[in-house]
């Protein structure tokens, strides 16, 4: 038997971003070994390699092809603008998170393990880049495991408190179960189609047009694995505890990057596997095997309602943001439930904006926790008078997360609702709107603590260093500007809706 691996050599330039990240992992490990005493060069290396990766990802906006395709079969990866967009979100979030980590007092405490910290972050990035463009169930599973394995350790990285270890262990157990369930689903799909490639499965199941109980089971099982990653109800149980226990940079990272990767995978899985045709208005005609629309709408309404109502009672900012992130997963799922290119456009716009505002909110929470050592809402009393920059920024990020004009969050919700109303899903749109009203209450409750409680003499004055001011402005200015001048983001999203093959 003869090995023919030359095809790989020819196609390596389609996976340049992944290659750069893999090389960075090795580089970080060796740098950590050689320059044992100078840990401050690790973030520099990480930032530089993220920039290089970003350059190669921008190149991928022009590509629309399979990568790593052995002779006679479809490729393992699909390189397309859709994937490139989500890779950009992941890289942007990683860039900001590394800047977070330089400032975080939690991460600084365990400075002797910074080598491990950055290696694990890069492990997560590599997993996410592969998840986003994977078109083969085996590759999807392995890269999802790489992502999860790194995040389990990172969730309990600081080891300072019991909460931290609890977060890590809980994440590990829930994650292990959900990935086992997903693997079961994958094995069933392989059992009925004899293929693991999403594009091949799609062409194999074109013939029978009946609801198929086996396929429904397999799809729900796979959805469980993905739903865990995007923290959609009822697979959200880990979210509040892990978000609360993990170090804040990691919490922020899980809420953006890991969620982006999960959504990219979910959209690719649903669209590529079950598509039959797309009509001229951009609506997807799915195969009549499983009713994705009803299923996703149900999950989405459950996530929104549960997330928003549970957040009403939270006094810990991290827990509050955890429930808010469950609710946002619900809104984002609505974009998928529309099953049209317009819904996809709404998801992409939402993610671009969500990255700025959610990272911003976590940044402020982190800077306040650096000083006060707590995320309790009562410790925010009167901060509006002593630390104006932080409080005003937090107010803007929270208003944006609610979705009120003139912030970018409004534009994100606007496009989502337009997509829903275009698809004549009025009831769902009304439910989402009511949920937004509910969410206003708990976001504004934090502002009440900041501004309507008079500052006591012992209210801390939180100074902000120059680097942190720049970081805040980097997230704050887009949140405001995109609320008024949003054409660039919409144009960018229109480029990014194209998936390989459709």
């Amino acid at each position: 038997m003869e090995l023919s691996i030359n095809y790989i050599l020819n196609e390596l330039n389609f996976i340049k971003p992944e290659l750069v990240i893999s090389i960075s992992i090795v580089l970080i490990v060796f740098t950590d070994l050689i320059f044992d005493k100078r840990k401050q060069i690790l973030p520099v290396i990480s930032l530089i390699s993220l920039l290089i990766t970003g350059y190669f990802v921008i190149e991928q906006f022009g590509m629309n092809t399979f990568a790593i395709a052995p002779a006679g079969s479809k490729g393992m990866l699909a390189v397309d603008p859709f994937g490139a967009f989500f890779k950009m979100v992941v890289l942007f979030a990683s860039f900001i998170i590394i800047l977070f980590s330089i400032n975080s007092s939690e991460i600084k405490l365990s400075s002797d393990r910074h080598g491990e910290y950055y290696t694990l972050i890069f492990g997560m990035i590599l997993g996410m880049l592969f998840v986003i463009s994977a078109a083969d169930l085996i590759l999807i599973y392995i890269s999802l495991e790489l992502l999860s394995l790194s995040s389990y350790v990172l969730a309990g990285f600081t080891k300072q408190s019991l909460r931290n270890s609890e977060a890590s262990l809980k994440y590990l157990i829930y994650g292990g179960v959900s990935s086992g369930i997903m693997l079961f689903g994958i094995s069933i799909i392989y059992g009925i189609t004899g293929s693991t490639n999403l594009y091949e499965i799609n062409s194999l199941i074109q013939a029978p047009q009946l609801p198929n109980i086996t396929f429904i089971l397999a799809s729900i099982l796979i959805f469980t694995g993905i739903g865990f990653k995007i923290s959609a109800a009822p697979f959200h149980f880990w979210t509040p505890d892990v978000y609360e226990g993990a170090p804040i940079p990691i919490t922020a990272y899980l809420s953006i990057a890991s969620k982006a990767a999960g959504f990219a995978l979910l959209i690719r899985f649903v669209k590529v596997t079950f598509i039959q045709s797309i009509n001229t208005e951009g609506y997807w005609q799915l195969l009549n095997i499983i009713d994705w629309k009803t299923f996703v709408v149900l999950i989405s309404i459950l996530s929104m309602t549960l997330g928003n109502f549970a957040a009403l009672w939270q006094n810990n900012l991290k827990r509050l943001l955890a429930y808010s992130s469950i609710a946002h997963a619900g809104y984002l799922l609505l974009g998928l439930a529309v099953l049209s290119n317009q819904g996809l456009l709404a998801i992409i716009i939402y993610f671009a904006i969500y990255a700025f505002m959610n990272l911003g909110a976590f940044l402020i929470v982190m800077l306040i926790a650096n000083k006060t050592g707590s995320e309790d809402m009562d410790d925010y009393n009167g901060l509006g008078f002593t630390s104006p920059l932080l409080s005003v920024s937090l107010a803007i990020f929270f208003i944006s997360l609610t979705g009120l004009p003139p912030t970018a969050g409004f534009i994100a919700k606007l496009y989502l609702f337009i997509a829903l109303i275009d698809a004549e899903m009025i009831t769902v749109a009304v439910i989402a709107l009511l949920n937004t009203v509910v969410s206003l209450y708990y976001y504004v409750r934090v502002l009440k603590h900041l501004y309507l409680v008079k500052a006591e003499p012992d209210t801390p004055i939180i100074g902000v260093s120059a680097l942190n001011t720049v970081l805040i402005l980097m997230l704050l200015i887009p949140t405001l500007v995109f609320g008024i001048y949003f054409t660039p983001i919409v144009d960018f999203a229109k480029v990014s809706v194209s998936l390989l093959g459709f």
């Binding site: 992992i25 052995p70 393990r113 910290y117 694990l120 109980i213």
Partner: protein, 162 residues
């Protein structure tokens, strides 16, 4: 029922029963020993399916490696057998209903599904095919697994360090 079916059911019963005891027994040493039979039964099923390489790997790595390590861990840990393991059962009715529904669903799926079958003779040995596949079609997955193991190692070191 031919001889293959009989052998399959034998291994299936060994696997299922011992897995049941692993979960229910309150003594962790017994649990570890029952796990031995579970792994062994699974290896038997692999042999029956003609997956010789995976069966050997299952024996060498799981039975020979992981389980022995596990037993060492159990035996070397002080006072581990006297620790009361909390295996309380909560919400037994909803759990029974949920599990029952899911089991019914699974049985329905197993009964009505037309699994994809291919009429080919089982290859005498699978090792060569596996090797070629891993280094050809699944090369990316194979390399990614390498990185996965590296990350797992680094993560474990990070957890173990003070």
């Amino acid at each position: 029922m031919n001889i293959y079916d009989a052998i399959f059911y034998l291994f299936a019963v060994v696997t299922g029963l011992s897995a049941f005891f692993v979960v229910t027994t309150r003594n962790i040493v017994y649990a570890a020993f029952f796990l031995l039979f579970t792994f062994f039964g699974v290896a038997g099923i692999y042999v029956l399916l003609g997956a010789d390489f995976i069966a050997i790997v299952q024996l060498i790595i799981y039975v020979g490696g992981i389980l022995i390590l596990l037993l060492f861990g159990v035996m070397l840990t002080n006072k581990i057998t006297s620790v009361q393991i909390k295996t309380g059962t909560l919400q037994i009715v909803p759990a029974a209903v949920g599990v029952g529904l899911f089991a019914g669903f699974l049985i329905a799926v197993l009964t009505y599904t037309e699994w994809k079958t291919v009429d080919t003779a089982l290859p005498l040995t699978t090792t060569e095919f596996l090797g070629v596949m891993l280094l050809q079609e699944y090369l990316v997955v194979f390399e990614l697994l390498g990185i996965l193991l590296l990350i797992a190692l680094i993560g474990a070191a990070s957890i173990a360090r003070r």
